[in-house]
Amino acid sequence: MEVVSSLSVKNLSCSYDSKSVFNNFSFSLRGGEALAIVGRSGSGKTTLAYCLTGIIPNIVQAKVNGEILLDGKNILGKRPCELVEDINIIMQSYETQIFGLSVEEDIRFGLENLGLKEEEIKNRVEFVLKVIGLEKYREKLTRNLSGGLKQRLAIASTVAMNPKFIVMDEPTSNLDWKGTKSLIEIIETLKKHGVGIVLLTKRIKGLESYLDKVIKLDEEQRSLSYDFKHRKIQDKNSNGSEETLVELQNVWFKYEDDDFSIKDVSLSLKSGKVYAVMGSNGSGKTTLVKLFNGLIKPKKGKVLVLGKDTRKYSTAELARYVAIVFQDPEKQITFDSVIEEATFGCKNLGLPLSYAYEALEILKLKEKSLFSPLSLSTGEKVRLSIASAIAMRPKLLILDEPTTGQDETTLRIINNVIKSLREEGKAVVVVTHDSDFALSIADEVLVMREGLLLVHSTPSKILLNEDMLEKFELEPPSCIQQEAFVRDIQ
């Protein structure tokens, strides 16, 4: 009979330079179970993951107390390389964990490092390729894989090393609905094979029925209830006095040597409206919004921003009309303080700096204006990048995946900002996978697939229609998920 392993964490506390991250945290888990630890950004999820896998205190310096018992033995303080066969981690930036040129080589890499015999390596490679569903990608080059497949490979290579427990740090934050569904399948399979899973996440939406336990990491999370279910869902009517801000006329676009990633798209964005751009990964959503401020210029057709052809203007010149907030806020952090960061756009465009102060106030970051941006939590960094965009008072604000991996506080603030921009008669474009968010905020939904604009309609017509959701592989909103759940039970 196979022995079920157990992991139990007792009174774990961790602090960086006397700044406490979490205190007396305890939980226990058995092999074959899945546990979700939920916490807002900055609550210490990654720190916890690092403690569990020995990264803290060996590689990242921090003070840590308590016990982490794996099958009764305290593993706290052991080096990660000693623990790889006990407990291993899939990092949030899982791409870093890929070393092989091809899928198969990547899985072999860790096994060869362990010094296993060739036969054992072969067996394990075959096993994980099958279990994780990567058989047909075995020969593929890792750099050509999509984000979802890369994550699957990172999981496969880790599983091959045969750990009893796997910690996953924010595994769903970059996945579309299709990706989330296949991650769920993998988690199910791993559970069946007796592997214990610790999921560290901000939201468990969509995962509920596959988890055995859920624990909240921070106090604040317990008092928050930002409930999508009770929001009234209705399509908003236009108020008549609309100005066309951006117009696309039969636009085609491709990156060098590639196929067209935008195909014959025509649309116009009006003031006072909120648009949600949806579609699975790689459907051309981000490419589409980059056309709006001239970051890329159309190969055929025209993009007009307030009647100006984007081909004749630089992005910097168009920045006073259209602002984009990209997905990864860290990519634009340049300065030592939050306030300098927020005023960057105003300085470039010669606008009053007071705009930036107001923006920080709206995004609830004013008290932190002298802090270093790098000291902020992920949610705060996202808010800072939104602040630095709205400080330029654009007529159109574009948010690329603002909700991915965000905690509820940040979501609520972003939601309010979008609403007030709409009231001011500005337009907002949100690129998102989050159907609840789109339902709650958007006036119109644009669905992209393989570079084509498939539908342009009201949110309720698309997101409350199960056929449409399935056809376009969109995440069903909570209300539909609940209905389905109730149906399943009955």
Partner: protein, 236 residues
């Protein structure tokens, strides 16, 4: 080669030979033969168009080289007194420069980073060196992707990059370089972590690929060696 399957070891050897030959040749006709050979290789791999397109960009540079070697070669460190031969000298030097460019371009367009790594590995270069080479190639790729996205996000915040004097343009790139530097350091840290999590150690001496030479591989190697040697030693 990406369209033609050739053993990476042969590929690396072919380009190594071509580079070596181009250092030893001493006549315009031998340089021309090697250029034709290179273009034939790229045509075999169906990348001739791309190679030619890139080579055209270098024409102004070749013209400058021709003028310099013809009229100012007496100032060169490698000047050998030979008064009547200046124009020929100029043509020879710029043809050879063109040959270097052709070999490099053909190499770049026909060899993927994966093939380079596999080739080095199969040729029994030290494992640590091969691994390091692979890592740096990977980092170049991720740094260049980061560079583009940082540039995009800063341009969206009104940073003008392509206007103004050269000094101004260079100064305007500072807000791109700072985040890039921070990210590179961060990604290096994450990489260390990831290596630790894969129990990485250099004692693993296993070679990743079991490559076998095919007939085509032999034929190509023989042709390149034969043509190269003929060009260098017979056409003096």
């Amino acid at each position: 080669m990406s369209n033609l399957s050739i053993d990476p070891r042969v590929k690396l050897s072919v380009f190594f030979l071509l580079f070596t030959f181009s250092f030893f040749l001493s006549s315009i006709s031998s340089a021309l033969i090697l250029i034709v050979l290179c273009l034939a290789i790229s045509a075999l791999d169906k990348v001739l168009k791309k190679v030619v397109r890139k080579l055209i960009i270098f024409i102004p540079m070749l013209v400058v080289a021709l003028l310099l070697w013809t009229f100012f070669s007496s100032f060169s460190l490698f000047y050998v007194k030979n008064e009547n031969m200046n124009i020929l000298n100029g043509v020879f030097m710029s043809t050879r420069l063109f040959l270097f460019l052709t070999i490099s371009m053909t190499f770049i367009f026909t060899t993927t980073p994966e093939e380079m790594i596999k080739g080095l590995d199969a040729l029994h270069f030290p494992k640590s060196l091969v691994f390091l080479f692979g890592l740096s190639l990977r980092e170049i790729d991720s740094v260049s992707r980061d560079f583009i996205s940082i540039k995009e996000s800063q341009a969206s915040r009104g940073l003008e990059l392509d206007k103004g004097s050269l000094v101004k343009r260079i100064r305007n790139h500072i807000p791109i370089l700072i985040p890039l530097l921070v990210r590179s350091v961060e990604s290096a840290e994450k990489l260390t972590l990831a290596m630790e999590l894969k129990a990485f150690n250099l004692s693993n001496k296993r070679r990743s690929s079991n490559l076998k030479l095919s007939k085509t591989d032999f034929i190509i190697l023989v042709i390149v060696t034969f043509v190269g040697l003929t060009a260098v030693f017979l056409l003096r």
